[in-house]
Symmetry: C2
Subunit: 338 residues, 2 copies
């Protein structure tokens, strides 16, 4: 039972039922992308995404502040909206409260969520509070985007350049630091912990990329590059070759101290919340230059999409190897290096 | 720590933060009603509600089919949309999967959700699947309503007639039947179990009531009449007197067999998902006649709002007593008769 196979089965149930009952097709995009899309009025698209965090699975109460837990949950959802090229507008929060949780924890968690939401001009408008055996945060964020700027993950074409908005692996490194004591320099430690605890969703970058017609597909890298790249390529009916792997310096430092391969953190770690884009080869150079000017950081080239299905890796000038998706499957433990 | 006090504290955090950062007020209605409301375009309002069910708190895996669990979760969310006078459009589902849950359970649960959603022309468009220590279903439903038909819970006025779309207490009776073996006639048993396991959200009734300018306030009775009536009255800066209590026949039969007071099931049981309306005294008679013709069932009179704050009960011609809200508080065990 993998997440992708289960999602496919659920999608079949839902779509058959909807087709049978003649539900009007105001739904532009259903299950299977970073977010779903509908059309509330003629001129306009709305985007919705739901993402849940569970204590003991996605975070440990002992090792993270309630504010960081709240920020992390909000970041994951905002990242999904960013991955559609949309602007977040509002959020709802379903909070499952574990026995013995004090009110201060809940209030601090909300403070964290509100703070990050406000940074992106997003309002928390409601939700539900229930008792639960462990803390559960299930957030839903709604955004909006004009029809011409909506970016799906299935629009990639053979020959497109694959690019990413930042180096990868730092979040996985932060998780490692929370799990055990490692001799790592202070700046790498701080960067890794911040990447894990208070990641920044790439909302501005997503809207910037969405404005370019050269960007054919967009998604976030929340489940790990190897898994998410495979999804983007498969959705676009393409294969992909990864020719460069931008590993975050903090991931290099922590992985070495932990006796792990830094590239595994970047490939399979997940939760970096960078955006992956498929960009027309013709438009990439110009877009990358403009992006660097706008954000003061490069749009990093990862490789390219191609007609031959499957995922390949050919970094450091070596021959291409098959790349196995080994990122986060929400129904299994991570099969990464941890 | 009660739900209402916690929600008030969270609301303060969220609204202060939003005010500080100058979030544009596209948000028409935030925390504190059945659903939140925003304005995606000039002509149009969207409505969003999130509601979570947790195994061991809201349902037991052993006593309910997965399809019924799914239907119940969907019904609770559709009911919140109905309580705004809105039409549901789409839903997202965050599913927390407990260890050892088989794929068949998940698929059947989705079949139940999809079936009820399709009945109300609502599409399930996405969500998230995560591991969790117990089954958790957190649903979000988005609906739409024209600005003139939106019904909040804070619009009631002194003198308004309080009315309800159906008799109460059957869901609480169904829960009792799942908890223990009781000698109850087959038809009452079937009605009580159906009310608990597969409640019907009053979507059509909500839209009908929303079309009348005589309806000043609307909410659903999901947490129990005593609790929800107190919320409606307090939101409307009114008090209320309950003069008639329509107890469902199945609630009478089960409560008697269980040695409980039937009126406690109707007052405090909750999860009936009927709609409570505050209707102008002048318009009530006409509206109730039209409602009866449209739906083949009466719009039942409960009592009235008044200027004097507080909740009173004066059924069976007796003197008015103070009525204590004793319905479902999501952070405590029900203080009802169970």
């Amino acid at each position: 039972l993998t997440e992708d196979s289960l999602v496919a089965a659920l999608r079949a149930i839902v779509e058959t039922r909807a087709a049978d009952s003649g539900i009007p097709t105001r739904i532009v995009l259903g299950i299977g992308d970073d977010a779903a899309v509908w059309q509330p009025s003629r001129s306009h698209l709305s985007v919705i995404s739901t993402d849940a965090l569970v204590e003991g699975v996605h975070f440990e109460l002992g090792s993270m502040s309630p504010s960081a837990v709240g920020k992390r949950a909000m970041a994951a959802n905002l990242s999904d909206i960013a991955a559609m090229g949309a602007r977040p507008v509002l959020a709802t929060v379903a909070l499952g409260v574990a026995p013995g949780t004090d009110e201060a924890w809940i209030l601090d968690c909300y403070r964290g969520m509100s703070e990050l939401a406000a940074t992106f001009r997003t309002a928390i408008v409601g939700g539900d509070i229930v008792r639960a055996p462990a803390m559960v945060l299930s957030l839903t964020v709604v955004g909006e985007v004009s029809r011409s700027r909506l970016k799906r993950r299935d629009g990639g074409r053979p020959g497109d350049v694959l690019a990413v908005t930042g180096a990868l692996g730092a979040s996985r490194a932060g998780l490692e630091l929370l799990r055990r004591s490692l001799p790592v320099a202070a700046d790498a430690r701080a960067a890794a912990l911040a990447a894990f605890e208070t990641p920044t969703p790439r909302v501005a970058e997503g809207r910037y990329l969405a404005a370019s017609a050269h960007v054919h597909a967009l998604m976030d890298s929340s489940d790990g590059l190897s898994t998410d790249l495979a999804r983007l390529a498969r959705s676009s009916a393409c294969g992909a070759t990864l020719c460069a792997l931008p590993v975050h310096p903090a991931a290099v430092a922590v992985a070495r101290a932990a006796g792990h391969e830094p590239r595994d953190y970047a490939l399979d770690g997940g939760e970096d919340f960078e955006l992956i884009a498929a960009v027309s080869a013709r438009g990439f150079g110009h877009l990358a230059r403009r992006f660097a000017t706008a954000f003061g950081k490069p749009l990093l080239r990862l490789g390219h999409l191609e007609a031959e299905l499957g995922l390949r890796i050919a970094v450091d000038g070596g021959a291409a190897d098959v790349l196995q998706p080994a990122g986060w499957d929400h129904l299994r433990r991570s099969t990464g290096s941890g």
